[in-house]
Symmetry: C2
């Protein structure tokens, strides 16, 4: 069947449309986890919605399962092919179709790298605010299908909030085009929601209408230190009140993180003594270049005076701002040392966060003594915590179970922004109820009755 299918797809898509044998490069074997890589028998690369529709119709007919691939930068194994699957790559369905300054929207194809989207918006004088480390390789289709988060969620929301219209192809090849360009549209069900954050299990995204924004006219950066998480939360509320939507980053780093990173990155200057404080990296985007710096300083001055923070350092130059960000981004520079650690991307209601962290610390100490170094940091403005636990690889499964169980107990999420894929599937029941998972199954069965789209992902 597979070879007949390959022939018919090659006939329709042309030679560049199908890669087989040695032409299937290593990049198609796994996502960024590089766990259990597998070379698919062939890779289909449609260059239009119509071609993808043809491909899926053909696969559906013979019940051929497919692994959907964008930039392969995912962290949950979702795009890694399973045995028996062919790969569909969106890499040739790429490009920015247009920008509409009046409605402040842009129309893009799914395979366009995020950075190209950002650049096209900037060239037209606008900002597309979704941003993450993988910007050069990840694709906008992948960003949308995983509802990507990133650095400016507190100001602009997740990918979901930035999508006005969407086109997707269903498992049977049906094209569902909902390329809405209006902020307000209540004409029937909002079908695009089916394809945002469902990781390619209900349909394959082909095109999108995105919101773009005027570029900010000023930017301020500061590092603060606070005695404990309760004070950090007070700081967040103070800034939300005094900076409103202008607060664009609120990154918190616990002492364990600060000590680990600053000891390992040469020449990194930390603005305060490490006295057990939590560090908070703050960014503000404003519209008043003349008065914003003084305003920002006054807001932080009030936080000092009211005893909310211990210390504050405002970046006086872009170079200084970049220096502050080096501490936060330093986690990327130590990737070799933490490659085999257990990485967590969780969220918990802020009021329960300290109790959850304490419980996890207690669990790890009780099970492994002091053998597990922890690095605690996160986009705390939106409740998202990253935790790295450097444990003996043999203990890793147990570490995952302990942490995710606590996350569930505190009504948190086992995946704040990375998704579920295959890697977190077995833990989904700790964050979602049986009736929720059953409803996910029902939707999957309705939209993909033969289970050919990314089977075995997300749903346990």
């Amino acid at each position: 069947v597979t070879s007949q299918l390959q022939d018919s797809l090659r006939a329709r898509l042309g030679p560049g449309g199908v890669l087989a044998g040695d032409d299937v490069g290593q990049r198609y074997e796994a996502d960024a986890t590089r766990q259990q890589p597998l070379r698919p028998p062939f890779v289909v690369r449609p260059s239009s919605t119509e071609e993808l529709s043809f491909v899926l119709r053909a696969c559906h007919e013979v019940a051929q399962p497919v692994a959907v691939q964008g930039g392969l930068t995912g962290l949950c194994g979702g795009a890694t092919p399973h045995a028996g699957e062919i790969a569909i790559s969106l890499e040739r369905l790429s490009g920015v179709e247009g920008i509409d300054p009046a409605s402040m929207t842009m129309t893009v194809r799914a395979g366009t790298p995020l950075e190209k989207v950002q650049e096209a918006a900037a060239a037209a004088g606008f900002l597309f605010p979704l941003d993450l480390g993988a910007r050069g390789s990840c694709t906008i289709g992948g960003n949308i299908s995983t509802n990507a988060g990133g650095n400016e969620v507190i100001r602009y929301g997740m990918a979901r909030a930035l999508v006005l219209g969407l086109e997707a192809v269903l498992a049977d090849g049906t094209v569902v085009s909902s390329m809405n360009r209006m902020l307000k549209n209540n004409a029937g069900f909002d079908l695009k929601q089916l394809f945002i954050g469902t990781e390619g299990t209900l349909g394959i995204i082909t095109r999108a209408v995105l919101r773009i924004f005027p570029a900010p006219l000023s930017a301020q950066t500061a590092m603060c230190s606070a005695a404990d998480l309760a004070h950090v939360i007070r700081l967040l509320q103070h800034l939300r009140r005094r900076l409103a939507g202008g607060l664009s980053s609120f990154e918190v780093m616990w002492p364990d993180y600060v000590d680990f990173i600053s000891a390992r990155i040469e020449g990194l200057r930390v603005p305060f003594a490490a006295d057990g404080s939590l560090f908070v990296l703050i960014e503000h985007e404003g519209t008043q270049p003349d008065s914003d710096p003084a305003m920002f300083e006054a807001v932080l001055g009030d936080a000092l005076q009211e005893g909310i923070i211990r210390d504050a350092a405002i970046a006086r130059s872009e170079r200084e701002a970049a220096e502050f960000w080096r501490l936060r981004d330093g986690i990327g520079d130590v990737h070799r040392e933490i490659a085999r650690a257990a990485h967590f991307d969780i969220s918990v209601p802020l009021g329960s966060l300290q109790a959850m962290i304490d419980a996890v610390k207690g669990d790890l100490a009780a099970n492994f003594g002091d053998g597990v170094t922890q690095l605690t940091f996160g986009h705390l403005g939106d409740g998202n915590l990253h935790l790295v636990a450097l444990s003996d690889p043999a203990d890793q499964e147990r570490v995952f179970e302990l942490v995710y169980t606590r996350v569930g107990e505190f009504d948190g999420s086992i995946s704040a922004e990375h998704g579920i894929g295959t890697v977190k599937r077995r833990y989904l029941h700790l964050s979602r109820s049986a009736s929720e998972i059953e409803l996910m199954r029902r939707l999957k069965k309705t939209l993909d009755p033969k289970a050919i789209l990314n089977p075995g992902r997300v749903i346990p």
Copy 2:
């Protein structure tokens, strides 16, 4: 069957839980359209999620269709009972369960009036920003199930953007509880999207977790005049760039609207001569009470200087701001005169709006001469246009068809914020494709196989 069902529901819910006969007041007969009112044989009023689950399980068993009712303020006939339907009112499933200042969320029951939600947020020092004229009667469950818009969408988004978690009961009585309190949660499908804006056709919302915000620290109001729509769009872009997220209202009124309203409301002062200009009502919410007024004046001053606007008047007091709003809200004061007019709630990409308006004017003139007075106004910051066409009631069907056909031609929406209900169902195909409508049908069949939840609403 109906009487047996009534008995069993009364036994479970107690006497206040079921109203029958003369106890069924007029209010349960129709929504705010008051079109084709019908008294249902009885009204079920569950006071808990468990009671509603029992009610739906019982209805599902005997395939008893139900009309779902919140505050009955809808404008599309959705909550008006059809022949053979009983009504389920959420009015006893009411109350604010709690406010969490740390995560800036509040938890509410579906039957809580919007105004009570706003008041509870305000009492805790926060703002719940969804706001519309019916605030005293409409319920938060109705707001969410219709994805309500209102006056501050440009700043805070539609109801969808304000909901973090949701609990709903499916047609068969299954409770799906997704009461998430985090801004970021990508653990599996975002099931709440199934129930937001689907007008009670896929499930009945029982509880919600809402986002709340710090109350703004300053507010500025101005009225501007501009030569034409192209200049109004330039003004919008100017304000978006210079005020960013602080721009909270951008209400546009065409000369036809201004003339009609100002001639009919006694003592209404219009700040500029009616010289064929479009009027724009602007509100800004800020965080710097000391400097915001001067900043706002400078931003409008620049718009004058750059020739974007003809004139501007800044409200110097709350009384003056209220005076400006009287012109915009005046449409509510002339409701008797326009009661039998054709009312439109449409959205069109801003770049096509003038062409669409011109085409509609041409169509109406060609068909009815100058017999159709038009009032044109809208929340233009989000592309939403309200149009009132005062035609001979005998021509009304034809007027609807002409306008909606043009809306479809210009890729617009036949319902920006009011929903579809029964009233706009027959026009849905002008805004949505056959494959989109087919997918809506498929979802409906999956979640409500016996078609007992608001049957005949939304889907043609």
